[in-house]
Symmetry: none
Subunit: 290 residues, 2 copies
DNA sequence: AACGAATTGGAATATTCATTCTACGCGCCG
DNA sequence: CGGCGCGTAGAATGAATATTCCAATTCGTT
């Protein structure tokens, strides 16, 4: 049932969609979601491109537009285009385009957004720094270590816990046998006690190093397991015991260190491993489960 | 005399135009000026519209594009579109992410460092995108919500778990009364059951939305608690119930979405809260004046 | 002033794109 | 269990748009 008056601005349309989202058909909801999530795509790309990305038929988008009162999809696009333009409208390059400095630092004294911007900046720096501190060889070693392990144990507490949990989760996602030493119920020590010679412990730790992690590492070392340390220092108590150390320098803003770089590294590690495994599938030996 | 290699970015094209401006024909200079002055128009409008506004023939614009090495005017437009989007960041992002997804499958995958570099790039993009999708107002609302809460409950499972655990950890660090709904021992439901009218639930969730989180959100809503949703969509099951939604667009490579942006947001949220509390300490009581 | 080369305007053409339409599939209700 | 209606996919259509081409004009040169 098309409305008589189509929303004239992107904001209005957004509201309208949110309001009616529940009562739309499945396919239309799918489109609604895409429209909400990717307004700029909608503004610029052609209908068929949008359709493909949203996983629907072009005609479905036309129907969607009509559902909200537009005569056609093009008119709906216009709304988003205008919105996009007005957002950027301030950028008026004159004939004197000598200003190649697109001023990116907008100083709003406001506070909230500034904090966010600061962290974004900091994490961005940390990420790029990561590329320089981690060498290809190190990464390859680390992946190889994990790939060859029968079972991977992951340990990390306090500040490192999110990184460890991410690692444990995604390793399982790529079908690596993984044991997350989460220390629930004070069982951390026991969990790590079953580690064996063919296994690997990934120990994530940052200053101040959690006692549990150190313990786990010591135990692993004692039982002949390999250790991969993800840490902020090469000489941390854990790194000393490690076979391979991946050093991450996190950004620190107002004495709060971030984790973005570590998460990124963890992610790259796991995906890289997934590639490695895929390649390894062709090889007869070492039949890891898919 | 068409150049062999057309400028691939708007900035390059601007350079090229400025350089050759003097040696262009009158009509071509006219177009050059328009291109420099109104890049946005060029990005979005159709050729004939642009021609009319610039006071030239459509064919002249095609000629202009060819002059700079493009096979047609459309290809030149694409350059400006990409630029517009990456400037606005909301989808220059999607476009680029799509690019290295394509690139990933093409490359042999031999380079470990390459994978890392791609994730760094992807996360970097996601971070910058974050700055644009989260408005100061939203952040302020979210902080306010948390600040006023008696107890903060944090829920997030599977992929969202690292983010949730980070939030829980750092909220406690800044002395906020926090309850981490971690679902250990299948007690998730019970943990969330004690939530009250004065409390806030921070629900972190991404597709596919974990049932436990949805349950927790429903319970919270039923008991009259406020909900802050950190999610990838405005219409996710959790976001629908939420008082405030912070939408995060993560980078995605090979169906592995990252978490760096979410971690960054979480961090900013907590630190921002810490400032807020510090300021509030001077004032009589917990209740902040709105 | 006249010729030639370069440039331009505008119609003709080819291509791409949005939209419409029809037949099919699915779920709902009798 | 069978019919009915909504929703959907996909091809056909028609419109709009980009591009090409050629004749007309301007500009520079001798």
């Amino acid at each position: 049932m098309p409305k008589a008056q189509p929303p004239a601005t992107a904001e209005e349309l957004r509201h309208a969609i949110l309001e009616r989202h529940g009562s739309l058909s499945k396919r239309l909801q799918q489109i609604a979601r895409y429209v909400l999530d990717e307004p700029n795509e909608l503004a610029i790309e052609t209908l068929s491109v949008i359709a493909e990305r949203a996983g629907v038929q072009p005609s479905a988008i036309v129907r969607f537009a009509k559902e909200f009162g537009y005569p056609g999809a093009s008119q709906m696009q216009r709304v988003f285009r205008d919105n996009l333009l007005s957002g950027n409208a301030a950028i008026g390059y004159g004939e004197r385009v000598r200003h190649f400095n697109a001023g990116l630092s907008r100083r709003k004294g406001g506070g909230h957004a500034e904090v966010l911007a600061e962290f974004i900046e900091g994490n961005s720096l940390a990420l790029h720094n990561l590329a320089q501190t981690i060498s290809e060889a190190q990464l390859a070693e680390a992946v190889d270590l994990i790939d060859k392990a029968e079972t991977v144990f992951v340990a990390g507490f306090r500040r490192s816990f999110p990184v460890a949990s991410y690692l444990a989760y995604s390793l399982q996602q790529v079908n690596k046998r993984t044991m997350f030493v989460d220390g629930v119920g004070g069982l951390g020590k026991l969990q790590a006690q079953t580690i064996g010679r063919k296994d690997v412990l990934i120990a994530v730790s940052y200053q101040p190093y959690a006692g549990e992690t150190i313990e786990a590492a010591e135990q692993a070392a004692a039982r002949g397991a390999k250790i991969l340390s993800i840490s902020d220092s090469l000489v941390s108590p854990i790194s000393k015991l490690a076979t391979v150390v991946l050093q991450v320098r996190e950004s620190e803003v107002r004495s709060f260190r971030s984790l973005a770089a570590s998460i990124c590294l963890a992610q790259a590690l796991v995906i890289d491993l997934a590639f490695e495994s895929t390649r390894a599938e062709r090889r007869p030996r070492r039949g890891r489960a898919t």
